[in-house]
Symmetry: none
Subunit: 223 residues, 2 copies
Amino acid sequence: MDILIIEDNEELGQLIYDFITNSDYSADLVKSAEDALKKLEKENYRLLLLDVMLPGLDGFNALSKIRKDHNMPVLMMSARTDDDSKILGMETGADDYIEKPFSVPVLLSKIKALLRRAYGENENDVLTYKNIRLNVGARTVTKDGKSLEITGKEFDILEYLMKNVGKVVDKNKLFDEVWGFYSDTEMSSLNVYVRWLREKIEDDPKEPEYIKTVWRVGYKFGE
Amino acid sequence: MDILIIEDNEELGQLIYDFITNSDYSADLVKSAEDALKKLEKENYRLLLLDVMLPGLDGFNALSKIRKDHNMPVLMMSARTDDDSKILGMETGADDYIEKPFSVPVLLSKIKALLRRAYGENENDVLTYKNIRLNVGARTVTKDGKSLEITGKEFDILEYLMKNVGKVVDKNKLFDEVWGFYSDTEMSSLNVYVRWLREKIEDDPKEPEYIKTVWRVGYKFGE
DNA sequence: TTTAAATTTAAAGATTTTTTAAGAATTGAT
DNA sequence: ATCAATTCTTAAAAAATCTTTAAATTTAAA
């Protein structure tokens, strides 16, 4: 899971949640610091969006508790605009602080900046086409956010195809890429893997929307 | 040298410079992006404070030039308060953006937060994933707060895996990391240690929740 | 329309890789 | 020097993946 949003205001929480999830991040939304602490035990998050004014444990105290166990970037949100609040937040271990009301696109760009700094430029680690996402680092593939069980060879083939979205990929080139030039595996095996890939990826393997065959040449992913 | 300040307004530049140098950081002050680029060739800075409105090359263009060669945190300063400027700055590679006029103590706390994130403050002593905690300094591991008896090699393996949560760790890489490139221990021993680790960490070693095997490649911790 | 070539499909066998258990070798503490 | 803990090896069993084969289908061209 990417982001945990801790915000007690129902409406604002939902707004942020919708925007974030529509921006290709996964998120959970909780209404109190106590719930957040529980969630953190069970799930792994890459970033925290933390409201300051919360019922029960407030944002500052929650943060110092969280910081004992977790080192992920934390972005605080608050209506309190005085300097001391900002400074206190960051001294407590927040990475950044955004004043309410804020523009949601600005929030998103702050999130991106924090993720970039904490985890590196790994947007290029993920290949996306429509609702298919291929994560090179994790070697996982999802469709509509649900993960697909994919084998090694299948992954290698899909990776190469998705690195060339819209371009016709020559069968021999694809084969060499996946098996290596000197492999003595039969070329026909490639067809078989494509069949299985379609089985997993396509809604209707007979009418491929993603992996299209280009007669006498090879395959083309998408477009 | 810690910080390079790029600010053409003499008075403001001096103010920032004084405050920063009085706060135990070393700094250089330049008045243009061109000068900054020259300085960056010669000196090594840990952070950049970059004004947007500059004579000659402006802050945005300077930043995209800088980002080709440098990855240090960059904090932009500008009187332009519109969202698009902020977003553009961060898309271009800035880590944060502060509106002028700003409070200098707030600026300082932003600087601290950025340095902390980029270079670490407390040597990431504890790695946490869900209910598993690994204390690097103490070489201990707990699950749900209860300590697990773990041997040296097991710890080394787990540490490396947990430093790469969610990413597939190549078996050879993992081996080299733990045993060293020139070790003549058999590769297959790694499998055995993983088996023991699972015995200790997993609820059900047959259905690993933490240490997953990625066929043909290696292992992946979590996600 | 017919034909040959290319691709799809399904199934089964082969191969590779991982898991597992047991024991041998090594190390460090007493 | 002895003992216990740890590290390492080995080999069989199990699991997952890879590969081949051949028949069925589709396509493009004669």
